[in-house]
C-alpha cells in the first residue's frame, strides 16, 4: 500500500465511497465526522433569537447606555420617572428585534430553498431522491445535465465514453466557458447505478481549504486492488458549478455544507457599519462627555452652593431622617446619577428608533423604484440590509465584476476586415473539429484565406442539439440547432458569427474544401496567439495564425498592417498565414516533436519552437468580437467617474478580454495611459523594480502634467491575480504601500485572473488604506460573494442567487447602479445626515434650558418640563416631521441629480457630518436654548404675566419654554425642507396641532390615575395671557433668526454646487 499522505495524516480525511466500510481488521477504521450539506447564512435560530439578539443589541453602546440609565432610574430617587426612558428603550429594542428577526427569517427561507432542493443519490444500486441538506460525505450522487453541484464532488464516471464531463463555473469564477473534468481512471467504467454501487474504494484527501484552483488529494484507493491513484483538481467538481454537455455523471461527495470550497470562500457575515453611523457614534461620545461634564459640574456646584446649612436645609425644606443619615459619598454619587438621568435626554433614544425606521422604510423607495425595474428579467431592486442606505451616497471605490455584470456574458462576432475592407458577408460551414467545409463566393485570394483561417484556426467543438420529443435541450433554446463549445468564448463567437452570416450568402455555398489538420500550436497567454498547420485537398500546406494584434504585427512580413485599426470596445484578433513548403513542414514537425518529447523544460522548448515557426507571416485581416456590454454600462461608468468614484474591474477573465471590455465600457479611454503590472512584466523584471518603476513614472508624470496645464493624464492600471498575490504577500508591507499609492492615482484599475478571495482581499486592502474610503462591490456570481461581503456596500447583478442572498442590495442590471448611487444614495445621505444633526440639535435645545435651570433651583435636579413633555418630546411632538423629512426630502430634483453626477462630489467624504457642521448645529442648539430660557426668565422675573394679576408657577415657566421649543425646532425643520408635499404640510403642521391639542387635554382634566396634577390648566392659563403669546412669537423669531441668516448669507456668498443648482432650477 502506498502511503503518500502519511506525514500529514491528521490533515487528511478518508472517505469511503458509498459508505462501504473496509472489511474489519483490514485497517484501523476511524469514523470521521463530517458536517451535513446544510448551508447556513442566517444568524439566529428560533431558540437563540431572544438572548442572542438582546446581547447583540445591548452591545451597541447607545442601547447599553440607555439600559444603564433605565436601571439607575429604577434604583435611585430620580427627578424623572423610569417610564420616560424605559418606554422608548423598550420600543427601540422591540422594533429593532422585529426588523432583524424578519430579515433573518428571509435568510432562513432562502437557505431552506437551497438546502431542500432534491438530489439524486445512489443507494444500494438504486437512485434515491434526497434533499440537498441530507447529503453526506461519501454519498454517490447522480448529476444530470444543467444541474448544479450541491457539494464538492470527485467525478467517478460520466456518460461520455472518455470519462470526461464539461462543467461551467460561471457562478464560481465568472468564466462561462466549458471546462473539462476527468473521471478517476479506475472508476471510469462504472457508469450505471448498479456498477457504481459496487465500487469499494476510499478517497484520501486533505481537509477543506479555500483555494479554488488547488486540490491536493492523496488519492483513491480501491480496497481490493490495493491500487493507488493520485487525484487532482481535474477530478474535483466544485459546488456551484453546473454540469454541461454531459448527460449524466456519477460522483462522490467529499466536502459538504460549510466545508465546500465555495462556502469556505465566503467570509463570515459581519455587521457592516456605515460611515454615518460611525459619525453618529462619535457625536454621541461628544454628547456623552458633555452630559458627564454637565452632571459633574452641577454636582460640584450643588455641594459648593449648599455648603451653608440654610441653603442645604432651610427651615421650610427639611430632609427626611433617612436621607440625613446617608453617607456623603453615597449622596454625591446619587446626585451625580440623578443629574445624569435629568440630562440624559440630550442623547436621544428615539434617534435610534427614527434612524432605524428611516432606514427600513426608506429602503422601500429603492424597491418601489420603477426605473430600477427590469422588464426583461422581471426583477426589481431588492434591499437586503437597509442599514447601509446612506452609504450609497458615499461610495468612493466601485469594484465591479466584469462578466455578467458589466457585460451580458455573451460574445458576438461583429465584423471583420480583410485588406482594409470591412466585410459583413461570409458563408462558412463548420463541422467537427479540424474538418471544416468552407463555402464562399468566388473569392479573392486573401479573402478566401482569411475565412479559411478563421474556420480552421480554433479549438471549438460542436455539440449537436438532440431533439427528444420535439423539446430542445440546452441553454441556447431556439437559437440554433447546434452550438459550439470551447475554452475560449471568442472562438465560439467567431465560429457562431460565421454560421450566422452564412444565411446571408447562401448563394455562394458552392464549393467545399476538405482540410487535414496536422498540428495545433495551442494558445497561451504569453504568446497571445495560436496557430494550426493544415493540408488542403490539393496537398498545399498552410500555417494559420490568429492572435492579439500586438503579438501578430511584429511577425508580419507583408500585409496592410496600417489598415487594421483597433476599434474601441471590440476585442480584435488578427489573422495571418504562411505558406509552408513540404521541406519547411518537415523541419517544423521535427522541431515540434523534439520539443514535445523533451523531458525537461518542455514548456520552454515548445515556446521556442513556436517562436521559430510563427514568423514571416502574411497578414490577412482582423476580426472584431464583442462581449456585448450591458445596456448603458458605459454611460453608467462615465457617470460614476464624473461623480468622483474610482471604478475597479475585478475579473477572473483573461487580461485581453477584460481590457477590451474596459475600453468598451469607457473605463479606459483612448488617452488613458495604461500601467501594467502583470506576470508578463514581472517575469522580465522583479516585482520590486516594476513597482518602483511604475510609481516613479507615475509621479513624474503627474507632477509634470500638473505643472503644465490642468490637462491631467488619466492613468489606468492593469494587474493580474498572480502579481497581486505577490504584492499582497504579508512579508512585503512596503509593496502594499507603493501599490496603494499607484492605485490611488489611477482613475480606473483592472484586475484580471482574480480568485474570489483575492477580490475580497483587494477590497479589504483599499478599505484599510489610510483614508478608509467607502467601497462598493458589484457582482453577479458566487465568486463575487466574498468581495460583496467585504465591501461596505454590496450590490449584485442578475444571475446567481448566491450573490443576491449575500448582497446588501440587489439590482437587476448594472445600469441601475447609476440611479442607485447618484439619486437614491445621494438622497439617503442628505436625509440621514440632516436627521442625525437635527436630532442632536433638538435635544440640545431641549435639555440645555434644563441645565441652566439648575442654577436657579439650587441644583436640586428639578425638571423644567413636566414628565409628559419629557417623554413625549422625542416620541411624538418632534419625531414625525423629521422622520418624514428623512423619508421624502429631495433637496434637488432627481432628474438633475442624474444628469449632473458631479453633484455627488458635494457630499463626498461624509461632508455633511463633519465636525464644523456638527459644532454649528450644537452651537445653534445652545443659542436657541439660551434665547428660550433667558427670554422666559426675564419675562417671569419678578413680574406679573396676566391681566388679572394672578401669578404663574414653575410649571407655566417650563411650559412656556417647552412651547417655544417645540415650535422653534419644528420651524427649523420646516426651513430646512426643500420639498413640501402635502404629507410634509400635514405632518409638520399636524404635529404642532397635536402638541397644542395634547397640552390642552393634558391640562384639561384632573387625571385620576396620576398622583400629581401639576399641569392642570397650566397650558390654558398661559394661552389666556397676552404677553405669553407675544413672548412665544418673539422667542421663536429670535431663535430662528441666526440660522436663516447663516443660510442666506452662505448661499449668497459661498454657494456650493448644489445650492447654485437649487437656485438655478
Amino acid at each position: 500500500v502506498c502511503c503518500v499522505g502519511e506525514e500529514n495524516w491528521v490533515d487528511s480525511r478518508t472517505i469511503y465511497i458509498g459508505h462501504k466500510e473496509p472489511p474489519p481488521g483490514a485497517e484501523a477504521f476511524i469514523q470521521q465526522r463530517f458536517p451535513d450539506n446544510r448551508i447556513v447564512s442566517s444568524k439566529y435560530t428560533f431558540w437563540n433569537f431572544v438572548p442572542k439578539n438582546m446581547f447583540e443589541q445591548f452591545r451597541r453602546v447607545a442601547n447599553f447606555y440607555f439600559l444603564i440609565i433605565f436601571l439607575v432610574q429604577l434604583m435611585i430617587d430620580t427627578p424623572t420617572s423610569p417610564i420616560t426612558s424605559g418606554l422608548p428603550l423598550f420600543f427601540v429594542i422591540t422594533v429593532t428585534a422585529i426588523k432583524q428577526g424578519y430579515e433573518d427569517w428571509l435568510r432562513h427561507k432562502a437557505d431552506n430553498s437551497v438546502n431542500q432542493c432534491p438530489i439524486h443519490v445512489v443507494q444500494h444500486g438504486k437512485v434515491v431522491r434526497k434533499q440537498s441538506r441530507k447529503l453526506r460525505v461519501g454519498d454517490v450522487v447522480l448529476m444530470k445535465e444543467d444541474e448544479t453541484f450541491p457539494c464538492d464532488l470527485i467525478l467517478l464516471s460520466s456518460s461520455r465514453d472518455d470519462g470526461t464531463c464539461f462543467v461551467t463555473t460561471a457562478s464560481l469564477d465568472g468564466e462561462s466557458s466549458h471546462k473539462t473534468y476527468y473521471a478517476v481512471e479506475d472508476t471510469r467504467a462504472y457508469n450505471t447505478e448498479k456498477e457504481v454501487d459496487c465500487i469499494h474504494a476510499t478517497i484520501e484527501c486533505e481537509q477543506p481549504q479555500p483555494d479554488l484552483y488547488k486540490c491536493r488529494s492523496n488519492g483513491v484507493k480501491t480496497s481490493f486492488r490495493l491500487f493507488f491513484r493520485p487525484l487532482g483538481s481535474e477530478n474535483l467538481l466544485l459546488r456551484g458549478a453546473t454540469l454541461k454537455n454531459t448527460e449524466y455523471i456519477y460522483a462522490v461527495a467529499i466536502y459538504t455544507g460549510m466545508e465546500t470550497k465555495m462556502a469556505l470562500n465566503y467570509q463570515s457575515k459581519t455587521q457592516k457599519r456605515s460611515a454615518v453611523e460611525k459619525s453618529m457614534n462619535a457625536f454621541l461620545v461628544v454628547y456623552l462627555c458633555i452630559l458627564i461634564c454637565k452632571a459633574f459640574v452641577n454636582t460640584l456646584l450643588k455641594y459648593v452652593w449648599q455648603a451653608s446649612p440654610d441653603r442645604d436645609e432651610p427651615w421650610y425644606n427639611n430632609r427626611t431622617d433617612t436621607e440625613r443619615q446617608r453617607h456623603i459619598v453615597s449622596l454625591v454619587f446619587t446626585d451625580f446619577l440623578a443629574f445624569m438621568v435629568l440630562f440624559n435626554y440630550i442623547i436621544p433614544v428615539s434617534m435610534y428608533v427614527t434612524v432605524e425606521m428611516q432606514k427600513f422604510l426608506g429602503s422601500y423607495f429603492i424597491m418601489w423604484d420603477d426605473e430600477m425595474f427590469d422588464e426583461e428579467l422581471g426583477e426589481r431592486a431588492v434591499v437586503n440590509t437597509s442599514d447601509l442606505n446612506e452609504e450609497l451616497g458615499q461610495v468612493e471605490y466601485v469594484f465591479t465584476d466584469k462578466t455578467g455584470t458589466l457585460t451580458e456574458n455573451n460574445m458576438e462576432f461583429i465584423e471583420c476586415c480583410v485588406d482594409g475592407h470591412v466585410y459583413l458577408g461570409v458563408c462558412v460551414r463548420v463541422s467537427v473539429r479540424g474538418r471544416v467545409t468552407l463555402c464562399c463566393r468566388p473569392p479573392q485570394e486573401h479573402e478566401e484565406l482569411f475565412f479559411r483561417a478563421l474556420c480552421l484556426c480554433h479549438t471549438v467543438q460542436v455539440k449537436e442539439e438532440e431533439t427528444v420529443d420535439g423539446i430542445k435541450h440546452g441553454i441556447h433554446q431556439g437559437k440554433s440547432t447546434s452550438f459550439y463549445i470551447s475554452s475560449s468564448p471568442d472562438e465560439v463567437a467567431l465560429v457562431e458569427g460565421m454560421t450566422r452570416w452564412r444565411s446571408f450568402h447562401a448563394l455562394c455555398c458552392c464549393c467545399f474544401f476538405r482540410f487535414q489538420l496536422l498540428e495545433v500550436l495551442t494558445f497561451d497567454s504569453v504568446r497571445r496567439r495560436m496557430s494550426v498547420i493544415v493540408r488542403d485537398s490539393s496537398g498545399e500546406l498552410y500555417l494559420f495564425c490568429k492572435g492579439a494584434d500586438s503579438s501578430i504585427f511584429p511577425r508580419v512580413v507583408s500585409g496592410k498592417v496600417d489598415e487594421v485599426r483597433a476599434r474601441e470596445g471590440l476585442r480584435t484578433l488578427c489573422v495571418a498565414y504562411r505558406h509552408l513548403s513540404p521541406e519547411q513542414y518537415e523541419e517544423v514537425c521535427h522541431m515540434l516533436n523534439g520539443a514535445k518529447l523533451a523531458l525537461q523544460d518542455r514548456d520552454k522548448r515548445l515556446a521556442e519552437a513556436y517562436d521559430v515557426i510563427e514568423k514571416d507571416l502574411i497578414l490577412l485581416g482582423a476580426t472584431a468580437v464583442e462581449d456585448r456590454l450591458q445596456e448603458k454600462a458605459a454611460d453608467t461608468i462615465e457617470s460614476l467617474h464624473k461623480a468622483g468614484m474610482k471604478v475597479w474591474v475585478l475579473t477572473g477573465d483573461k487580461m485581453e478580454t477584460a481590457a477590451a471590455t474596459c475600453y468598451a465600457s469607457k473605463l479606459f479611454h483612448r488617452n488613458t495611459q495604461i500601467l501594467e503590472l502583470t506576470t508578463k512584466r514581472t517575469e522580465e523584471q522583479s516585482l520590486h523594480d516594476v513597482l518602483f518603476d511604475l510609481s516613479r513614472t507615475h509621479f513624474s508624470g503627474t507632477l509634470l502634467s500638473s505643472r503644465l496645464s490642468g490637462d491631467c493624464t488619466d492613468y489606468g492600471l492593469i494587474i493580474d491575480g498572480a502579481t497581486l498575490s505577490a504584492v499582497m504577500r504579508p512579508t512585503q508591507e512596503d509593496y502594499k504601500e507603493i501599490f496603494l499609492d499607484i492605485c490611488r492615482n489611477c482613475s480606473a484599475v483592472l484586475c484580471c485572473r482574480m480568485a474570489p478571495l483575492q477580490k475580497a482581499q483587494i477590497v479589504k486592502l483599499i478599505k484599510a488604506s489610510e483614508e478608509h474610503p467607502i467601497t462598493l462591490a458589484v457582482g453577479d456570481g458566487a465568486n463575487d460573494v466574498s468581495m460583496i461581503l467585504e465591501a461596505h456596500v454590496g450590490i449584485m447583478g442578475k444571475e446567481g442567487r448566491q450573490a443576491v442572498r449575500n448582497s446588501d442590495y440587489a439590482i437587476p442590471k448594472f445600469k441601475h447602479l447609476k440611479k442607485m448611487l447618484l439619486v437614491h444614495g445621494h438622497y439617503y445621505y442628505i436625509r440621514i445626515s440632516e436627521l442625525v444633526q437635527y436630532f442632536f440639535y433638538k435635544n440640545v435645545c431641549f435639555i440645555f434650558p434644563q441645565f441652566i435651570y439648575q442654577f436657579f433651583c439650587g441644583f436640586s435636579q428639578q425638571p423644567l418640563y413636566d414628565t409628559a413633555y419629557l417623554t413625549l418630546y422625542n416620541i411624538s411632538f418632534t419625531s414625525l416631521p423629521i422622520l418624514l423629512y428623512s423619508l421624502i426630502e429631495q433637496h434637488i430634483n432627481m432628474d438633475i441629480l442624474r444628469k449632473d453626477p458631479s453633484l455627488y462630489r458635494d457630499i463626498a467624504k461624509n461632508s455633511l457630518l463633519r465636525w464644523p457642521i456638527f459644532i454649528y448645529w450644537t452651537l445653534l442648539g445652545v443659542y436657541d436654548a439660551l434665547v428660550m430660557f433667558f427670554g422666559a426668565y426675564f419675562l417671569f422675573n419678578n413680574t406679573t404675566f396676566t391681566s388679572n394679576g394672578q401669578m404663574f408657577g414653575n410649571w407655566t415657566f417650563g411650559t412656556l419654554i417647552f412651547t417655544v421649543l417645540v415650535f422653534t425646532v419644528t420651524f427649523k425643520l420646516a426651513l430646512d425642507t426643500h420639498y413640501w408635499t402635502w404629507i410634509n404640510h400635514f405632518v409638520i403642521w399636524g404635529s404642532l396641532v397635536f402638541f397644542v391639542v395634547f397640552s390642552l387635554l393634558w391640562g384639561g382634566i384632573i387625571w385620576p390615575f396620576l398622583n400629581y396634577q401639576r399641569m392642570y390648566y397650566v397650558f390654558m392659563q398661559m394661552l389666556s395671557s397676552g404677553p405669553a403669546w407675544l413672548s412665544i412669537i418673539l422667542l421663536i423669531a429670535a431663535s430662528l433668526l441666526p440660522d436663516v441668516l447663516k443660510k442666506v448669507i452662505c448661499r449668497t456668498l459661498w454657494p456650493t454646487t448644489t445650492e447654485r443648482i437649487q437656485v438655478g432650477a
Partner: protein, 369 residues
C-alpha cells in the same frame, strides 16, 4: 426673483407603456406600483431660502416688531408699581426687632408698621403682592412635597398622605393635612394697608382676598374633603402642619375660603419658577371712576410678622402694582421686541446690499459661461 418653483408631475406621465405592457403574470406581480408617492414624484412646493426671498420677510418682521415693541414699552412704562422691603434686615428698619426676635413658639404675634408715600395716584385696580427672595420654592425636594389627591379632597389620601410629603407627612401618629413642605411653609404674614389722610387719621384700605387664585384651582383642583360644610369633622383625625398656628379648617371664617380652598393657601401652593418671586396677596378694587384707587399720599403698611426669612438670607417685600392688558411692569418684552425688530430691519438692509452686489456679480459671471 422667485426662487421657488412648483414641481407638479403627472402621476402616470413618466413611465409610458407601463400599464399596457401585457407581460407574464410573474413580471406583473414584481413590477413596482407606479404611483407618485412610491416613485418619489409627489407634486411638491420647493421653496428655497435666498437673499431675495428672505429680504421682504426681514423687513416685514422688522416693521411689525418695532411698533409692537414700542407699544409694549409704553404700556409697561405707564404701569405704576411701588415696592417696599419690610424684611427688617438692618438695624433701624421698622421690622428689625420682629425679625431678630423670631421664634416659632411665640404666642404673641410681633407687629410692625412701615410708612411709605405714594407720589403718584394709582388709578385702576391695584394688586397687592408679597415678594420673597432667595426662597427656593422650585427646589425639587420642595416642589414634589405635596399630595394633590389630598388637596383634591380624597379622603383616603387625607388620612394616608403620599410618601412624597416626607418629612412633613405625619405628626406623631396623625397624618398632617395638608401635608408636605409647601403647605407647611405657607406664607403667614398678615399685611394691612392704611391711608394716612391729611388729618393724620389712618383709614384702612379695603383689601379683597377673592380672586387671587386661579379659578380652576379654587373650584376644581382644590377641594375640601366631604364638602365645605363642617370642616372640623372632615379634618378630624388629622394634624395641622408643624409650622402652622391654626389648623387648616380655621383658615377663614368664610366657608367658601376655608380649608384647602383658602385662596392664600392655593396661591402659595403654586410653586414659583424662580427663587425670587412674588405672589398675589390682595386686590384693591377701584371704587369709582372719579377717585383713584390709591391716591397719592402717605400710607402705612401694618405687618404681623410671622414668617422668618433671615435664616436663609431671604427678603420680604410688599408690592403695589397696577396691571394692564400685558400684565405688570415689565420693560423687557418691549425692549426685546424693539431689539429683534431693529436687528431684522438692519439685517434686511445688509442682505439687500449683499443681494444687490452678488446678483450683479453673478449675472456678469453668467454671461461668459
Amino acid at each position: 426673483m422667485m426662487a421657488s418653483s412648483y414641481n407638479a408631475k403627472e402621476e402616470d406621465g413618466h413611465h409610458p407603456g407601463a400599464s399596457n405592457n401585457g407581460g407574464p403574470g410573474v413580471v406583473k406581480s414584481k413590477k413596482p406600483d407606479n404611483t407618485a408617492f412610491k416613485q418619489q414624484r409627489l407634486p411638491a412646493w420647493q421653496p428655497i431660502l435666498t437673499a431675495g426671498t428672505v429680504l421682504p420677510a426681514f423687513f416685514v418682521i422688522g416693521l411689525i416688531f418695532i411698533p409692537i415693541g414700542i407699544g409694549l414699552y409704553v404700556t409697561s412704562n405707564n404701569i405704576k408699581e411701588y415696592e417696599i422691603d419690610y424684611t427688617g434686615a438692618d438695624p433701624g428698619d421698622e421690622c428689625y426687632n420682629c425679625s431678630q426676635n423670631f421664634t416659632w413658639n411665640s404666642t404673641t404675634p410681633c407687629v410692625c408698621s412701615v410708612p411709605f408715600t405714594l407720589t403718584q395716584p394709582f388709578e385702576s385696580n391695584v394688586f397687592m403682592y408679597y415678594g420673597l427672595s432667595n426662597f427656593y420654592q422650585n427646589h425639587r425636594r420642595y416642589v414634589k412635597s405635596r399630595d394633590d389627591s389630598q388637596l383634591n379632597g380624597d379622603s383616603s389620601a387625607l388620612m394616608n398622605p403620599s410618601k412624597e410629603c416626607e418629612p412633613y407627612r405625619t405628626s406623631g401618629a396623625q397624618p398632617i393635612a395638608p401635608c408636605g413642605a409647601i403647605a407647611n411653609s405657607l406664607f403667614n404674614d398678615t399685611l394691612e394697608l392704611y391711608y394716612i389722610d391729611s388729618n393724620g387719621t389712618s383709614n384702612a384700605v379695603p383689601l379683597v382676598k377673592k380672586g387671587i387664585a386661579w379659578w380652576t384651582d379654587k373650584h376644581v383642583k382644590f377641594r375640601n374633603p366631604g364638602g365645605n360644610d363642617n370642616l372640623t369633622i372632615a379634618f378630624q383625625g388629622t394634624s395641622k402642619p408643624v409650622n402652622w398656628r391654626k389648623p387648616v379648617f380655621e383658615m377663614d371664617t368664610d366657608p367658601e375660603n376655608n380649608g384647602f380652598i383658602n385662596e392664600d393657601f392655593i396661591v402659595w401652593m403654586r410653586t414659583a419658577a424662580l427663587p425670587t418671586f412674588r405672589k398675589l396677596y390682595r386686590i384693591i378694587q377701584k371704587k369709582s371712576s372719579s377717585t383713584p384707587t390709591l391716591a397719592s399720599g402717605n400710607y402705612v403698611l401694618n405687618i404681623t410678622y410671622n414668617y422668618p426669612v433671615r435664616s436663609f438670607d431671604g427678603r420680604k417685600r410688599m408690592i403695589l402694582s397696577t396691571i394692564s392688558w400685558m400684565g405688570g411692569k415689565n420693560p423687557f418684552l418691549g425692549i426685546a421686541y424693539i431689539t429683534v425688530g431693529s436687528i431684522c430691519f438692519f439685517l434686511g438692509v445688509v442682505l439687500l446690499i449683499i443681494h444687490h452686489k452678488y446678483d450683479t456679480r453673478n449675472n456678469s459671471a453668467d454671461i461668459p459661461g
